[in-house]
């Protein structure tokens, strides 16, 4: 179910934000990127990060945008959630995305980034001891996702594989 009561907080690529019920949080056009949702159902608060790359050591820039990388985004999201009333020990995670949109006969690792993103996010969740309760990752299709912090449900929409809720 899409949100009917509150407003929808939109999160762009390489960005993150948080949401309180009755509002929902959404990011669209996930391809190889991974959308990570962390939530505390009791407090009805959730955060979403739209991650592009697995590892911030890939960054050659000076100012690292934490939301862009799996190894920095999950931790940053935990911090922001904590500041907004979430209890760290109650946090759970749902993830979606990490597709391989194009089939290339290439050695270039960048084209297989979806799988690497998913692995990196899972490693980070394990390190921070956040249980991963549901996932919809891989395949070759794009996804738009919307999370409801009141119900803890993640709505997933695709262009020709229908929609799903996890």
């Amino acid at each position: 179910m899409m949100n009917e009561d509150g407003i929808v907080i939109k999160v762009g690529i390489a960005d993150m934000n948080i949401v309180h019920a009755p509002n929902t949080i959404r990011t669209s056009g996930l391809g190889s990127c991974v959308g990570v949702i962390l939530y505390d159902l009791g407090q009805q608060v959730a955060g979403l990060a739209h991650i592009m790359l697995p590892d911030s050591t890939l960054s050659r820039g000076k100012n690292v945008n934490a939301a862009k990388f799996a190894d920095t985004a999950v931790e940053a999201l935990v911090k922001v959630l904590q500041e907004n009333g979430a209890r760290t020990t109650y946090l759970k995670a749902k993830i979606a995305g990490g597709a391989q949109m194009f089939q290339f006969a290439t050695q270039n690792d960048m084209m297989k980034i979806g799988e690497r993103n998913s692995i990196a996010v899972k490693r980070e969740l394990a390190r921070l001891q956040i249980p991963l309760v549901a996932e919809d990752i891989g395949g070759s299709n794009g996804r738009t996702i919307e999370f409801n912090p009141k119900t803890g449900r993640l709505f997933i929409k695709t262009v020709n594989k229908g929609s799903d809720e996890i």
Partner: protein, 212 residues
């Protein structure tokens, strides 16, 4: 300073001119392919944030048909030919004479996908051949891949390499359309997106004698 933001306006003009020549050649190829008059806009060269790029055309959720390739050689970057999926259908119809299909569906006949891919091959190939002639640089495009999905899921592939150094990218956008589209009601308005790798600019500018 962000390497993307440090590009000069003269350098932007050079990129624009190279793209103008490339897209002009592609438009001519398209015109021959469809035996129709084709119009082309002057390329728009802009520095855009990733968020702005995701909202181009009809937004990140818009379903599009795309041909995507990677450029290697003296000049590196990514190139896309993208059009809304209804218009891609119209394109393939005109090219093959087939009508009982849609690229929107899950099981698209192989011949339709091949026709679309071949068209993308011809257009991107003629674009890059002209850029190569103009800049005297050797470009090695990969074999183009077809992707039919949400715009955001597709265009983000062109940002992966750049995202290691910046949150911005230079986007060279050229719109190519069928000039009789309004009359025929069979609109085909495709976009070429060239996303050059900033590390490879130096060679382009040196080759053309632009040093500021």
């Amino acid at each position: 300073m962000d390497p993307i933001q440090s590009i000069s306006s003269l350098q932007m003009d050079v990129l624009k001119e190279a793209s103008n020549i490339g897209a002009g050649n592609a438009a001519t190829a398209l015109s021959k392919l469809l035996n129709k008059k084709i119009e082309m806009n002057v390329p728009v060269v802009r520095i855009l944030s990733f968020a702005e790029i995701m909202e181009l055309i009809g937004g990140s959720e818009q379903m599009v048909a795309s041909v995507f390739l990677q450029i290697e050689g003296d000049f590196t970057g990514y190139m896309f030919y993208i059009l809304p999926v209804d218009e891609a259908d119209s394109f393939v119809r005109q090219l093959t004479g087939m009508s009982n299909f849609s690229l929107k569906n899950e099981n698209v006949p192989e011949i339709v996908l091949s026709a679309f891919q071949e068209m993308g091959n011809i257009l991107t190939g003629s674009y890059l051949a002209a850029v190569s002639d103009f800049t005297q640089l050797q470009l090695k495009p990969s074999v183009p891949a077809v992707g039919i999905d949400m715009f955001g899921a597709i265009i983000s592939y062109g940002l992966l390499e750049i995202s290691q150094i910046s949150d911005f990218a230079i986007v060279i956008d050229t719109e190519v359309s069928d000039s009789n589209a309004a009359r025929d009601g069979d609109l085909i308005k495709g976009h070429f997106f060239l996303l050059p790798d900033p590390d490879s600019f130096t060679k382009v500018f040196e080759s053309l004698g632009v040093y500021e």
